[in-house]
Symmetry: C2
Subunit: 264 residues, 2 copies
């Protein structure tokens, strides 16, 4: 079993380099969270593509995801994850391998849903950070979480995922940690933007990869291609890449036409 | 239009007292969050019962709910709410009446779902506070939020609500604020319990009504009556009323049989 944890935008080049040394048939498990720019492929699709294989046919593939801040795992604090695979054997192997007294693993068949949830939550986390930078409060951030979850689910369902995945641990669970934990890299990036720091300045001074920035491009491309309404992702895109003022971005979200709540 | 904001366990006596003075046919809108002990009625049902009327037939009734910490509303920070009524006119009146540049009102027909979501989130918030008292971390609390949301949705659907309500602003939105805002009364109560303070001592020294405590009794009664599995609510019940140690309660949740994730 090989675990791939490379940021998505580097996954292709790493796996192309490793191609000759990758054992035939060995399972690949991804913990990467993102969508490749341009191709709009999910991490496991990128690996299969880089290996010249067909996703899910040439080897078992799976994904592990959930609310898992590394510093907390390192202290053995209680946590949960989803192990998703279309291969029932791999799903159970992952569950048995990673379960401990403090880490609880649930299984799922919905690889697409778990990968989409892990990617798009980083975009919503940037928006959550922007709200924090503007000192907008818990009411606003919780509304963002709910409306962001609806957006993620709409996109995921259009990509073939099951809606319920987004309302589980790898969906709303991971989203909640990303939006509320002060340690989150995407939330912290958004907070800097909300306080008025330009994106370039922030990315230069931070040592961590802010995956949500590149993911925002892919997500907005996907949403437009599939005809899915994603106003929060569009607002984040406008702030990151179109020079929109964060306050104006939030104002635009709040002033949309009043309507019936539609979820999923 | 009369707005009822009395804690649920006092709603019956207040409305029985007001019965003679309540104008016939005037709309009643509830912002109370809970379920009456013993009768297991929702706030609007309690009002109808206390007035000797049939719910939804003798006057328009509606509910306003969402992530709305009062101190933030008082500062005009951005927020959202759901206005739910089976009466389309009342729904729109509420939307128009309460919408401002900083408060966005969505409409819904699902009165049952919005009332159940508002009640049960207080039970989950006590559990979130227990985790905080034990310094369990964001991973654990986000997992609790996701699994708690699934429990709330299961109960709600068994009571006739629409599942999607729980994944919207009055559901997961309000739940997120209740679990993460340090100001929340139910979360704060749970935190004291997690730190080892007995419930009686905490309730004596706090000046606020901790609605989740009484609601826990009703929710567990409802779950048992309807045959709905609610392990988090059962654990909170055991800590509040059966003398279970909070650490044992959490341990019991983490050590349940490994299984496939089931949402809703």
């Amino acid at each position: 079993m090989i675990v791939t944890a490379v940021p998505v935008q580097f996954t292709r080049s790493v796996w192309e380099t490793l191609r000759a040394e990758t054992p035939k048939g060995a399972a690949v498990v991804s913990v990467s969270k993102g969508i490749e720019n341009g191709t709009l492929l999910r991490p496991l699709q990128v690996v299969a593509d880089a290996l010249g294989e067909r996703m899910g046919e040439d080897r078992p593939m799976g994904v592990l995801s959930g609310p898992t801040i590394a510093a907390e795992l390192a202290r053995c604090l209680p946590a949960t994850m989803i192990a998703a695979s279309e291969d029932p054997d791999l799903e159970l192997r992952l569950q048995r391998l990673f379960t401990t007294s403090w880490l609880r693993i649930y299984t799922s068949e919905d690889v697409v849903g778990v990968e989409v949830a892990g990617a798009v939550k980083n975009v919503i986390a940037i928006a959550a950070g922007i709200l924090d930078g503007l000192s907008a409060g818990f009411n606003a951030k919780s509304a963002l979480l709910a409306r962001g979850l609806a957006e993620i689910a709409r996109l995921g369902v259009a990509m073939g995922a099951r809606a319920e995945t987004f309302f589980g641990i790898a969906g709303v669970g991971d989203l909640a940690t990303s939006c509320f934990s002060p340690e989150g890299r995407n939330r912290s990036c958004g907070e800097a933007l909300g306080k008025g720091e330009p994106l370039e300045t922030y990315l230069k001074r931070t040592t961590s990869v802010v995956e949500g920035v590149a993911t925002t491009r892919s997500v907005v491309d996907l949403a437009r291609k599939l005809g899915v309404e994603m106003p929060i992702a569009e607002a984040v895109h406008a702030v990151l890449f179109e020079g929109m003022d964060p306050i104006e971005g939030i104002g635009r979200l709040m002033s949309r036409e009043l309507k019936r709540e539609v979820v999923g």
